[in-house]
Symmetry: C2
Subunit: 229 residues, 2 copies
């Protein structure tokens, strides 16, 4: 049910595919596949191919496809720093949590929606939240209020990161370099022909010129400023 701590790869070597499989290697291959080719390409059979094995072999290491998806979510949470930096300061710590969650979305645009599609409760997520809980408690937060603060920051960062990734996603798919004209054509194609120009313009602003970094800074700062022990 959890990410085992077996070494991911003993010492590489040329016959990489021939080491015995384990849950960890299966999940890492799954995340890599999703990052590379999207969620729709994640197939038990395809994943087996990726690992040099028949798809059916994977059932020895994971219960089913749902377990693979849940495992990917664990890998994503595990990318967050297990113990926050700032020993004492809680505001920088919360900023770090927010940046970490947004960062995960940015690094794994195709997998990120799983963070809010699958069950939220998993070991790495709990470890992560618990670490920040400790920081906030030490800073004088009552336990309940500390949890509220973490939920608020976590929710905001995740929502922002996901929205951002979905606004920009098609552009990223298109190789990250897309001219304004190409973007216009793409945006227009997915919208009804009779949509007023003003809304097309809005769509262009949302997919292109919106300064997400600044917007994220502002909103996370506003939220954290509004919290108090």
């Amino acid at each position: 049910m959890t990410i085992t701590t077996e070494p991911a790869e003993p010492a590489s070597g040329p016959v990489r595919a021939r080491q015995p499989l384990n849950r960890r290697r299966v999940l890492e291959a799954a995340l890599a596949l999703v990052d590379r080719e999207g969620l729709a390409e994640l197939t038990i059979r395809r994943l087996g191919l990726e690992l040099g094995v028949e798809g059916m072999s994977l059932y020895r290491h994971v219960a089913d496809k749902d377990a693979v998806l849940d495992g990917i979510v664990e890998l994503l949470w595990a990318e967050l720093p297990a113990s926050p930096d700032g020993e004492g300061d809680w505001r920088p710590a919360l900023r770090e949590l927010a940046a970490g969650l947004r960062g995960v979305c940015g690094r794994h645009p195709a997998a990120a929606p799983l963070l809010v599609s699958r069950n939220f409760i998993n070991a790495p997520a709990l470890r992560c939240y618990d670490a920040y809980l400790t920081v906030l408690r030490r800073a004088g937060f009552e336990r309940r209020r500390a949890l509220d603060a973490i939920c608020a920051v976590g929710g905001q960062a995740l929502g922002f990161g996901l929205m951002e990734v979905r606004c920009l996603a098609p552009a990223a798919d298109a190789g990250a370099s897309e001219s304004d004209l190409q973007r216009l054509r793409r945006v227009t194609r997915s919208l009804p022909d009779d949509l007023p120009d003003s809304l097309i313009a809005l769509a262009m602003e949302l997919t292109g010129t919106c300064d997400f970094d600044r917007c994220f800074e502002i909103s996370i700062a506003a939220l954290i400023a509004g919290l108090e022990p």
Copy 2:
């Protein structure tokens, strides 16, 4: 590509299934099916069954399954008030936007993740954002800053609503009335056996006693308080 404005149902009548299909009816049936039985049950064939028709018939009204998913996203956005209340006040308007997005997540827990899985840009979403943009512009916001504010509020509300729905989701599936003991068993089952008690306790707090309403109010208030024209 957009939600047509044909009447959804002329006058009901007993032979409901025998009226000619249209895109609108297909999408509404799809959303209803997802609400009732979850995203995994949404199948072209099953959706046809729901409409008293063979699955293949649906291809006359929607391009493919992806188009159905995109259509569901449009329906969700269309549930938000097209034009915000407060003629002048921008803060209540933004609160309304936030509450609206969270409300959509609450009413459609199974479909809500689609809001951040599919393309973000669609006609009802643009109309919605544009309406709030107008309110903010009238209140003196520069256009760019108004967009930032809307993105910030939208992202936060969506993220919070999704996280909330995923924390509570299994409980909701279980009929919304689940004893603490049942929840403990369910939570424990999905977590590794060697997880420390303190993290199990945290999981119980996150799935149960967390006061999401208050938490949402606080964080949205903090964010909006931090914004200024």
